[in-house]
């Protein structure tokens, strides 16, 4: 039974279990990104303003802004985080989802 369950859970994502394979994937992605960055040499660019004339503008902007979002939201969290029970029973945050509305077991949908 246990083995069967394990087999069942093998699917097209299973290679993710292997850290080596994920590292190779990340490496390929980094090479792809480098290629994208230097792709700016090879096509007809259509800048709208002065800033996006800069070489590799979209790559740089995307990278910096994403980093900014993560760190800025950590700062925001410092101020706004509260316990799940902050609004008490007048909110759904601290309550369990009703058992009868979920179905973890067999489907009996006809």
């Amino acid at each position: 039974m246990e083995e069967k369950e394990l087999n069942k859970s093998k699917n097209f994502f299973s290679w993710l279990e292997d850290p080596k394979k994920t590292q190779i994937l990340i490496l390929i992605f980094v090479i792809f990104c480098a290629g994208l960055f230097f792709a700016d040499f090879f096509y007809d660019r259509h800048p709208h303003f002065s800033a996006d004339k800069i070489f590799g503008f979209y790559a740089i902007y995307g990278f910096l802004m994403f980093t900014f979002i993560i760190f800025a939201s950590k700062v925001l969290r410092f101020f706004v985080i509260r316990s799940e029970n902050f609004y008490g029973e007048k909110a759904v945050d601290s309550e369990e989802h009703p058992k009868e509305q979920i179905n973890m077991g067999e489907d009996n949908v006809s």
């Binding site: 979209y58 995307g62 179905n103 973890m104």
Partner: protein
């Protein structure tokens, strides 16, 4: 043909009396059949057709069919079909009837050619949809539903006030383009703004959507806010203030979404951010920008429903949608994971997915109309969309660390609904012409140019690169069981507490003047008699318009007071 002689939305309402006697197994067949019939009927309707009735001296235009109506009513039918398919297992008649009446009211509102009809359906969506929240049947969902209902009803009452004033000023109730000048037009604008979740009026959205049932949230996500987008596109295209409101809407939800633990609330913030793009398009107001808004609304309804469906399936199988409790579900829910990734790629606007071909219409117009600052904000917001909807939702639910949960794959009908929605997202992305043909104006734009594809890939891939690095250094915001304060603190905590203080203060004053009351009682009754007695100044003849206006004002006040005390 018989079908063409009855307005589409009536199809949805005809369901109601039947549903009382029919078993749920038959109702759910109707729930799928009615949107299909509606879709077919809309496709075959003649542009420019109209259906007017005379009601108490007012000419009510129940059906006004043009290209803007067509695109929104088509997507509403599609969303109703997909949402109901996803909810195939639901045996709860309350939810079944609520979802069909809700979608019918939304379609009715899109067809409305005058403000009175619009008001009727506007409130209809509010009343019907709240049952999708209450159907969770917990104390928390009861209070949340109350808050939601009151805000939605207030939006409707403000619309009614605006309509009455507008009628008094112009003698017209036509639902057409308005200049944002008179007080009446501002009221209508704010009413739309509440439903569209403008900044500071937005909290009902993040408060209520995560409180609905598994399937209720999917249905809720499609209609209310996009109805408001439609109303704004109809009445206020080219209103410049909308550009700045929209830009603000794209910005602030990003940060809240990044630190929110409940993935359904993350998606609600992300919905808010996507509405911002549409509102910017309306504010720019050129034909192409409005095309952008309409097409983005169309694509957005699909991929947002898809994301809500996938997180809903996780909730259905694990009992939670909280990032802190989830992770590693790809092992046993691989198909749901793939559908979630399709939704994530679509909302992040990867080439070949639907967001890419619709959002770019708005971005392109922002640049062409020389809104440089706004353009930078929107590009920034695009990176933000990737961060919460593109990465966070699929990553924390299906990948990330192993939570140890091994739930079953979603039920077949959910997989089918998600599969169909995914297919639509990809079809729109691969063959945008299919969607462009149904937009309000002729489309003169090619999304697949080398610079556009490369620039978009650069933006997204380098943002992902940043994510990988931050993850590598273990500096991502942790998933913690928590909530975050937002502006709703004002009406959920600050105002009720101050009101309680005020009331206790007033009680003290009241008791101290109690002694005086006996002697002064007679005098005050006499004053009241003068004002509202049979000859009193206030009770003299009032016009009906005034009465309706005052009733709306008084009702709003009562609602607000109620709000503060629940």
């Amino acid at each position: 043909m018989f079908l063409n002689s009855i307005p589409i939305f009536l199809l949805f309402f005809l369901m109601m009396p039947f549903s009382l006697i029919m078993p749920w197994k038959i109702i759910r067949v109707f729930l799928l059949a009615i949107p299909i019939v509606g879709f077919y009927q809309i496709l075959n309707m003649e542009l420019g057709s109209s259906y007017t009735i005379n009601f108490m001296g007012l000419n009510l235009e129940l059906v006004r069919f043009d290209k803007l109506t067509r695109i929104f009513s088509l997507i509403f039918c599609l969303a109703a079909f997909l949402g109901n398919l996803y909810a195939w297992h639901v045996k709860d008649k309350v939810q079944q009837v609520a979802s069909i009446v809700y979608s019918g009211a939304a379609i009715g509102a899109v067809f409305a050619g005058d403000l009175v009809t619009l008001f009727f359906f506007w409130e209809g969506t509010a009343v019907a949809s709240v049952f999708l929240i209450w159907a969770r049947r917990t104390e928390g969902s009861y209070y949340t539903g109350m808050r939601y209902l009151i805000i939605q009803i207030i939006s409707g009452l403000i619309l009614l006030m605006g309509t009455v004033l507008h009628y008094k000023e112009t003698g017209s109730i036509a639902f057409i383009q308005f200049e944002l000048q008179s007080f009446a037009s501002w009221l209508i604008f704010i009413s739309f703004g509440i439903k569209c979740a403008f900044p500071l009026l937005h909290n009902w959205l993040q408060d209520s959507y995560p409180a609905a049932t598994v399937t209720g949230t999917v249905i809720l996500s499609a209609f209310t806010t996009k109805l408001a987008v439609y109303a704004l596109a109809r009445s206020f295209p080219g209103t410049e203030i909308l550009i700045y409101i929209g830009a603000a809407m794209t910005l602030f939800p990003i940060f809240f979404a990044e630190i929110e633990n409940d993935l359904r609330r993350v998606l609600a913030y992300s919905l808010n951010n996507q509405l911002g793009f549409m509102v910017v398009g309306i504010g720019i107001g050129t034909e192409m920008a409005l095309n952008g808004t309409a097409s983005h609304a169309f694509a957005h309804i699909l991929y947002k429903a898809l994301l809500f469906m996938s997180v809903g399936a996780v909730l259905f199988r694990t009992g939670t949608s909280k990032a802190s409790e989830l992770g590693g579900l790809y092992r046993t829910m691989p198909l749901t994971a793939i559908f979630c990734l399709v939704g994530a790629a679509s909302i992040s606007a990867f080439p070949l997915f639907s967001g890419f071909v619709t959002k770019s219409l708005i971005m392109d117009q922002t640049a062409n109309q020389h809104y440089e600052f706004i353009w930078f904000v929107l590009v920034f917001a695009s990176a933000g969309v990737l961060s919460h909807s593109g990465i966070k939702v699929p990553f924390f639910a299906f990948f990330s660390h192993d939570s140890g949960l091994r739930p079953r794959e979603a039920p077949k009908h959910m997989l089918l609904a998600m599969g169909l929605t995914s297919a639509l997202c990809i079809i729109i992305g691969v063959a945008p012409v299919l969607l462009y043909d149904y937009l309000p104006y002729e489309v003169n734009y090619k999304p697949y140019t080398s610079y556009h594809v490369i620039n978009q890939l650069q933006l997204l891939c380098f943002a992902i690169l940043s994510f990988i690095l931050i993850k590598w250094f273990k500096m991502l915001p942790k998933e913690i069981r928590s909530i975050n304060l937002d502006s709703d603190i004002i009406y959920r905590k600050v105002l009720p507490i101050s009101l309680a203080y005020l009331i206790s203060g007033l009680k003290k004053i009241a008791s101290s003047i109690k002694e005086l009351r006996n002697s002064s009682g007679r005098i005050s009754i006499a004053i009241l008699q003068k004002l509202i007695g049979s000859d009193g100044s206030i009770s003299r003849i009032w016009s009906t318009g005034n009465m309706v206006l005052w009733i709306a004002i008084v009702l709003s006040l009562i609602l607000i007071l109620n709000y503060l005390t629940i």
